[in-house]
Amino acid sequence: MTEILYLGAAVLFIFGLKQLSSPRTARRGNMLASVGMLIAVVVTLANMEDIGWGPIIAGLLVGGGVGAALALRVKMTSMPELVAAFNGFGGVASALVALAEIERTGAVFDTETGVVVALSLGIGSITFSGSFVAFGKLNGSLPGRPILLPAGQLINAILAIAMVATAVWAISTEEALAYWIVVGIALVLGVLAVIPIGGADMPVVISLLNSFSGVAAAMAGFVISNSALIIGGALVGAAGFILTVLMGEAMNRTIANVLFSGFGATTAGPVSIGDKPVKSATPDDVAIALAYAENVVVVPGYGLAVAQAQHAVRELATELEEKGVTVNYAIHPVAGRMPGHMNVLLAEADVPYDQLLDLDQSNPRFPQTDVVLVIGANDVVNPSARDDDTSPIYGMPILEVDLAATVVVVKRSLSPGFAGIDNPLFYQEGTMMLFSDGKAAVESVISALSNV
């Protein structure tokens, strides 16, 4: 009976994920999955005899309180670091389950159990320390730029080999201490693997850590022979894997390239157009261009999140819609710091999701678009990714805003973006630069609009 109920929980997870794939049903899907989780926990508790309730109840209360407080108080702009932190908690929980099993059995396992114990420990610990480095980079307590250690890749390779060798030692000698050394090496490896990765590559990293947290849970499922953990973990591993691949494709890079190259540190080709004149605009110029447009597309980037400009953008769009202008939003898959980051911010500002266009929907529209308003985005609208085969980002799919009649770029300065590459868009004939903080710029355009 227990197994059947666990299977029921797993089926609810699958239905839940299925419904998460459409905005209409997504909320229900999340609820279904949470009901599945509740069933799994209740079944587990009901099946236990002769146990100490103290640590269970204390853990549920503390964890529930902390989790709820974090979830209910987080600002939408801080969502990437919260997701990173939750990944980390999931990873460490799976590693702790394996450690508790080592304590219980004295590390006496048959070979296959030893292997899955070592995998839970290794993957769970890497997920934990890697996620918290990502968390630090995202909330600004660690520098977001890539931190390259000398011979970093060699060190990581040696650590990875050492971890596998220690695991083999642990399994063959049934030595508990050796399993703990695996944990230690994995924790260091997680830190060193994420620290060289720059902020703009975070969508790939978070997706990959998400996948890892699922795989760690599945491995813990093998350790305790529990099908609910195996199924749930495998589903999450698959979901994270799909997102990782999608994010990699959106940057025209392989996952290995993201993990091992420290992108922001690579030197860009010689910048040859640095002296060309730039057309600087005032808020009034921008307001006039927008007010007399028929259709406007807003392209948000990480700068929008930093400036917390989503509500101001929404207000501007409402003003323009009242003047009969059609407003849409074009969102690059890797805009921001996690998959779908911009969509969440705009949803928070009450932008209806049917106004949000993805890459394939928006590119055919740009030639017929009167004004494109780029706010805090740079590399994802850089035409050299399409035109210049010497550019480091050549081949990356971009939003082709340069095909629109007029482009307004809101940016604090002319400094190059994350990839350190100059952007020919800024020097193009139909481009106006509005140098300002994203939110202040949008607000000044709104007040200028009332005079048009």
Binding site: A9, F13, G16, L20, S21, P23, R24, R27, N30, A33, M37, L45, M48, I51, G52, P55, G63, G64, V66, G67, A68, M76, M79, V83, F86, G90, A93, L96, V97, A100, E103, R104, N210, A216, A217, A220, G221, I224, S225, S227, I230, I231, G233, A234, V236, G237, A239, I242, I331, M338, P339, G340, N343, V344, A347, D350, P352, D354, Q355, D358
Partner: protein
């Protein structure tokens, strides 16, 4: 290899394919809620944590169990709640054609 272990591998592989199939059509708008919802599901390790905390003998084992339950519960409760908060915001404009 024991039969239990082999059937575990069968379940794992099939579930991974179900996951790939179910999730491959998620629109970009929902990528963040998908990720945080999936993340909450990875908190299923809470089941293992509860068992570990329940059967642990000795102070150290109980501390490990307590920490496991705490971390997994943060993941589960926080993950589902924050996903719900996000999804609550995703609205279609009423009466908008197209």
């Amino acid at each position: 290899m024991s039969e239990v272990f082999i059937s575990g591998i069968v379940v794992f592989v099939l579930a991974a394919f179900v996951g790939l199939e179910v999730i491959s059509k998620v629109p970009p708008t929902l990528h963040t809620p998908l990720m945080s919802g999936a993340n909450a599901i990875s908190g299923i390790t809470i089941v293992g944590a509860v068992i570990a905390a329940g059967v642990g003998q000795g102070t150290f084992a109980l501390v490990l169990g307590f920490l496991a339950v705490t971390a997994a519960t943060i993941n589960v409760v926080g993950g589902f709640l924050v996903t719900d908060r996000m999804l609550e915001m995703f609205k279609k404009k009423p009466g908008r054609s197209k």
